[in-house]
Symmetry: C2
Subunit: 347 residues, 2 copies
C-alpha cells in the first residue's frame, strides 16, 4: 500500500486557479486580506484534497518551533510524571508539544538529548539535570536554547529555575518530629550529591541544632544509582544499618517517599511497628503515600504546579529576546497522615 503524496498549497493553488501565496494566506490564518470569494474557494478545495499542513515547511521558513523538550531522570518516578503532566497541560494550552527525554540518570545520555533536541531546532527545554558539570548546558544556552531548570538547580548559570524550598521542607519535617516529642531522630538519604537532598539535609541539620539534638544520618554510598523500586530497596538497606545502632532512633526522616516506604517495610520486617514504636516521615507527597498502610506522613511539593509554572516561564522566555533569569521557590507543606505519632512515654 503506497500512500499518495499529500496535497500541498501548490496543488490547492493549481486546482483553485490562484497563487500559492494566496492559499498560504488563507490557510495559515495570517489575517492578510483575501477576497471572500477566493477564500471560500480555497477553503473548499483544501477540504476536498484533505489538505494537512506540513509544519516542517512552515518551521523551516519561520524558524518557529512548537515543540519543547523535557529532560528528566526517569518518568518511572511518580514525582516526575506528575511534573510532566503539568508541563504538557500548559504546553498544550499554548499549542506546544512535548518531546520526552528520560536521561536514565546517565550524564552522557543527558548530553545526547541536549544535542538532538537542539538539532531538531527545539528552542525550549525544561531540564532536571543530573550532571555535575554544567558546561554543556551553558554551551547550548549560548547558542540560543532556552532552558528552565526544575527540581535540580543549576548554580553557576544565569538560568531560570523553579524548585522547591527543600531546606524549608527539611526543617518542617524535622520540627514536626520534634514537636511530637522525638529527640532521637535519624535522617536516611540517598547520596547527598544533589541540591535537593543537600537542601533537605541542611533543613534537618538546622532543626536538630536549634533543638540541641544529636545528629544521626545514614547516607547511601555515592556510586549507587537509585530510582523507582531501588529507592525502596535503598530505604530498606539504610534502615537495616540504622537498627544496628546502640541508641536506636524513635523517628526516621526519609529523603523521599519511596525511600520512606522502604524504611517502613524494613521496620515492619524487623518487628517494629509504625508509628507505635518508630515514627516515619517522608518527603514528596506522591499519591501512593495515601495508599500505603500506615498512610505516610510527608512533606508535599506541588508537583504538577511545578510543571505548569516551569512551562509558563519557558513560554515567556521563548517569546522575549532578552532574558532576566527568574528563580521560583515553591513552598512545601506538611501532610499529616498516620506514620508519625507522639513519642511513647517510657515508664
Amino acid at each position: 500500500m503506497t500512500t499518495p503524496k499529500p496535497a500541498t498549497i501548490h496543488d490547492i493553488a493549481r486546482l483553485a486557479g490562484v497563487s500559492s501565496a494566496t492559499v498560504s494566506r488563507v490557510l495559515s490564518n495570517s489575517g492578510y486580506p483575501v477576497s471572500a470569494k477566493l477564500r471560500e474557494k480555497i477553503l473548499r478545495t483544501a477540504k476536498e484534497v484533505h489538505y494537512v499542513p506540513n509544519l516542517l515547511g512552515k518551521q523551516l521558513k519561520t524558524n518557529i518551533n512548537t515543540t519543547i523538550g523535557v529532560i528528566v531522570p526517569s518518568i518511572t518516578n511518580p514525582f516526575y510524571s506528575s511534573v510532566l503532566l503539568g508541563i504538557e497541560e500548559t504546553a498544550r494550552k499554548n499549542n506546544y508539544n512535548v518531546l520526552l527525554c528520560n536521561s536514565m540518570h546517565d550524564p552522557v545520555l543527558e548530553e545526547t538529548y541536549l544535542r538532538t533536541t537542539f538539532e531538531k531546532q527545539i528552542r525550549g527545554l525544561i531540564l532536571s539535570s543530573i550532571t555535575e558539570d554544567k558546561k554543556a548546558i551553558q554551551d547550548y544556552i549560548r547558542m540560543g536554547q532556552r532552558i528552565i531548570a526544575i527540581d535540580q538547580k543549576i548554580d553557576d548559570a544565569g538560568i531560570s529555575q523553579v524548585e522547591f524550598d527543600y531546606h524549608k521542607g527539611g526543617l518542617l519535617a524535622t520540627r514536626h518530629l520534634i514537636a511530637n516529642g522525638h529527640r532521637r531522630i535519624a535522617f536516611v538519604t540517598a547520596p547527598l550529591d544533589r541540591p535537593s537532598r543537600i537542601g533537605i539535609h541542611s533543613g534537618y541539620l538546622e532543626a536538630m541544632r536549634e533543638a540541641g539534638l544529636e545528629l544521626l544520618v545514614k547516607e547511601t554510598a555515592r556510586d549507587h544509582k537509585y530510582d523507582g523500586i531501588y529507592e525502596f530497596e535503598n530505604g530498606k538497606a539504610l534502615t537495616s544499618m540504622l537498627l544496628e545502632e546502640e541508641d536506636k532512633p524513635t523517628a526516621v526522616f526519609a529523603c523521599n517517599d519511596m525511600t520512606a516506604f522502604g524504611v517502613i517495610h524494613q521496620l515492619d520486617a524487623s518487628g517494629f511497628r509504625v508509628p507505635d514504636d518508630i515514627s516515619v516521615i517522608g518527603f514528596d507527597g506522591i499519591d501512593f503515600g495515601e495508599i500505603v498502610r500506615p498512610a505516610l506522613t510527608t512533606i508535599k511539593q506541588p508537583n504538577a504546579e511545578m510543571g505548569r509554572l516551569a512551562c509558563s516561564m519557558l513560554m515567556e522566555a521563548m517569546q522575549s529576546d532578552g532574558f532576566e533569569p527568574v528563580h521560583l521557590l515553591l513552598q512545601p507543606k506538611l501532610i499529616e497522615r498516620q506514620s508519625v505519632a507522639p513519642i511513647a512515654i517510657e515508664a
Copy 2:
C-alpha cells in the same frame, strides 16, 4: 542577548572554499567519496564554527522523520510509564525520539494529537486509544501514518497491535483463587467498556463457569473517569458495595492493581484482614505491589517489554512499504505474594 545565527553548510562551504554539496556529503556521513584532504578541512571548519546540523532542513528534503509519537491516556498511571520507558529505550537505539501525548482519557484530545503529530510529519505512532470510534484512526492510516496499537486493541482495522492476553490473565487469577479453596469470588472492575477489562472479565467468567461457581461482579458506572488515585478510590467504593452483600465473598479479584489497593484499604477499614479474612488479587504487576502491605498477589504483564516490542514493530512498519498487520499476544504471569491465602476451614 540576541543569539548569532547558527552556521549552515553554506557557511562552511564558503569558509573551506568548497561546494555545499561536498560539505553535506561529509557532514551527513553519506559514505559518498570525498578526498581525505577536503574531508579533513571541512570537519575542521565545521568544528570551528560550532556547526550543528538543522534536522528540519534534512527532514524536509528526505521526508524522513526521526520522531515517533506515543499517545496514552495518562502517564500518571505507572503501567503506562513503564511501557513508555520501554518504547523510548528501543526508539533511542534506533536514533528516534518520542513525542509524548497524554490524551487524559479525552477522545477529542486524542484526535487532536492524531492530527498535530501528522502535521509535524511524524509517521509512526504508538497508541493506546480510548475512543470507541476508530474512524479518525483509519483516516490517518490511509494517509500514511503507521500505527501500532497497544493495550487497547483496535478491532476493525488492519492495524498491528501488541496486547496482553487479558482473557488468559483473568483465567489465571480466578483459577488461583479457586485453587486456594475459594468459592465465593467477586470481580470488581472499572467500566467494562474497554477490550482489556472485557478480556479479564471473560477470563473470570470462564474460570467460574468451569468450576460451577456463582458470579459476583461489581462494575463502576460507565460515566466515571478513573485514573491514578481515582482507581484507588474506585476500589474502595466498589468494596463498600460488596460488603453489603448477604453472602460476602472470601476473595476479591480486582481489574487492576490500583483498584486492588483500594479494595484492601476498604477491607482493612471495615475490619476485614487481608488475606486472613478475605483474599485479594490484582492485575498489572506494578512495582508498588511489592511495597504495599500485604504485598499484592497479582497477574504480571511485561510492561516495558510491551513498549519495546511495540516500538520494534513500529520501526519495521516504518521501513517497509507494504504492511501486513501483526498481532502480538503477550502472556501474563501469576506473581504470588501475600494477599491471597487458602480459605480458612470454617469449623
